[in-house]
Assembly symmetry: C2
Homo-oligomer: 359 residues x 2
């Protein structure tokens, strides 16, 4: 008997592995397993090339002899659709700058320049646009980058979302710096630069109208300076990743899968501020799965961990840096957490984002 | 008496020159005078830096010694919100690739790599996404660029627009190539690479359900190869511009203003295909104000014009290249058209776009 014809829209077919869910759902934007589905079955098969296949936070271009000093060019982009546009500790403007600066920094790059493309909804108050743009400019100044090119489009009322901002950025990875999952070794230390889940809980608290005993503010911050300090302390860092959408759980699972190694983390070592911890408890959220916008994970050689931690703690964005766990040869691709009570459990890759529209 | 307080939204004020229209309207995205308002009163004051102030289609970075061969890096971005997503002759996928490739090419750059950021609306058919992505990949292949990094976000049903794509691109401007309004001289020739208004009329015909005696197809095409051929024929081209939103009228007015010179064009020389001409007539549109997505304007030294035209006509995207007019010292900043009947009229800068959501 012949196969039934594939679903068909405007003459196009849905790739076979995605046919049981033939429409976009919110989780496809969450950075977890559903986002991976789109990447693996739509974007990589169509665009596939060695640079994209690295799946880093930014692309590092292998154009031999392009840069004068033997460095390599890093290139990255992020679309931002956070709601609300302004929240405790920041706005879509700071996220749009810091998100791309941080993606560049995670490749070891010194960010050079950003582009900014705005999609505005008819009816947006010009005052709000102007205010967000000025916060964006201040964030660029703090991060030490220029916004050198841009574009603006407008969509009809009811077809958009107030304001979305897509930034792209370019930076220079210094000669000799080579970060990536292939560098990761069993025994390496896993470091986190500070408390987890602040950004996600800040968004959640304003969106749900929750009042905690203290205000929860987004941690949005540019991390290129911190990365430069870490590279100065240890030029042979193995890998950096900023745990945004999907949180630390997603990033650690991605690292374990890409490196083909296991990761063990210690539950008592997970840094969460008391107010964020109680907020997560009330809402039933796992802080490991909640988004951060000013934190990084670093995989470093075990015997360099203390030097890297010292360099991080001397930097304003790494004061609470701490050792979170280690890379192991066992259970490749799996992240395991040792609990305070001596047990252990698998830290799964989240399916979607617990909280849509987080960045 | 004290001034009344400025309009205030979320603690932000509307810049004074924009206060009589304190909300975004469709025309702010049209690329004409209203778009210039946003640029001058919001974006440039906030982000202002020498590269952004050039206001080119792409930024050319002046980082001394960055590139090995003395070239300079070009960087550009474009957000795409066209409706419908698929139209005669192309789709948002081809536009997203060719739009950024062409912005890079207008600075004289050889495009290297693109980023692509997708904002998807919940409910979008995966088949449609897959189809558009595959058209995008084919366009990148034709243009000779790789898509090396990307991002995907999802917004709730009713808060988006199906699919929008923002691309950014980087390219290399060869050493010695220096295009821009400062190069433009009185007496220079103004060349256009082919027929005008095809893209805008293709969108209009499907959106309005108009049937003409022949199908009107978008001219979307990558122009970097044409530019390379033109630079080979005449390395001292003065300026290139692709007349997209707002059409040739907008681009020529921008060139005249930036160069501080006048431009004269000859009405009988304006190349418009018969079917597009009759479509424009029926709809009361001026083909000079309608968008193109695969055409360029070139300002070249007068005594090189024939050599450049010959090189263009030998290239698939320049077969119908023609001399449109000349740069003059008179009426600086003003574009004048000499009509077929021997009269003349000013070609004004359009206020917004005659047709919103064109690219």
């Amino acid at each position: 008997m012949a196969e039934p014809p594939p679903p068909d829209v405007a003459g196009f077919a849905c790739p076979a592995p995605l046919r049981d869910r033939p429409q976009i759902v919110m989780g496809h934007g969450g950075g977890g397993a559903l986002s991976q589905d789109l990447l693996e079955h739509i974007f990589l098969p169509a665009f596939g090339n060695p640079v994209l296949d690295q799946r880093g936070d930014s692309a590092v271009l292998d154009v031999a002899g392009l840069l004068a000093d033997g460095g390599r060019l890093a290139f990255s982009t992020d679309a931002h659709v956070v709601q609300p546009l302004i929240f405790p500790g920041g706005s879509i403007g700071e996220l749009a700058v810091n998100g791309t600066v941080n993606d560049l920094a995670m490749s070891g790059a010194r960010p050079l320049s950003l582009s900014a493309a705005f999609i505005l909804e008819e009816g947006l108050a010009i005052a709000e646009l102007a205010g967000i743009v000025s916060r964006m400019a201040a964030a660029a100044e703090r991060a030490g980058v220029s916004i050198v090119t841009g574009d603006t489009k407008v969509v009809e009322r009811g077809r958009g979302d107030g304001l979305s901002i897509t930034t792209a950025g370019i930076g220079v990875v210094p000669a000799g710096v080579e970060l990536g999952p292939r560098q990761v070794q069993p025994g390496d230390a896993v470091i986190v630069s500070g408390t987890l889940a602040d950004h996600g809980m800040a968004i959640m608290s304003v969106r749900e109208g929750l009042a905690f005993e203290a205000a929860i503010e987004s941690d949005t911050a540019p991390l290129a300076g911190l990365v430069a300090a870490m590279l100065a302390a240890c030029p042979w860092l193995r890998l950096l990743r900023d745990p945004t959408r999907g949180g630390v759980a997603t990033s650690l699972n991605e690292i374990a899968a890409a490196a083909g190694l296991g990761i063990e983390i210690e539950e008592p070592a997970i840094p969460v501020s008391p107010v964020v911890a109680s907020g997560c408890e009330i809402l039933g959220l796992d802080p490991l799965q909640v988004a951060n916008e000013g934190k990084l994970l670093a995989i470093v050689p075990a015997d360099e961990a203390q030097a890297v931690l010292a360099a991080m703690r001397a930097h304003e964005h790494g004061r609470q840096a701490t050792l979170l766990g280690r890379v192991v040869a066992e259970h490749p691709g799996i992240v395991v957490m040792r609990t305070a009570l001596g047990g252990s459990r698998v830290v799964p890759m989240p399916i979607g984002e617990q909280l849509p529209r987080i960045c």
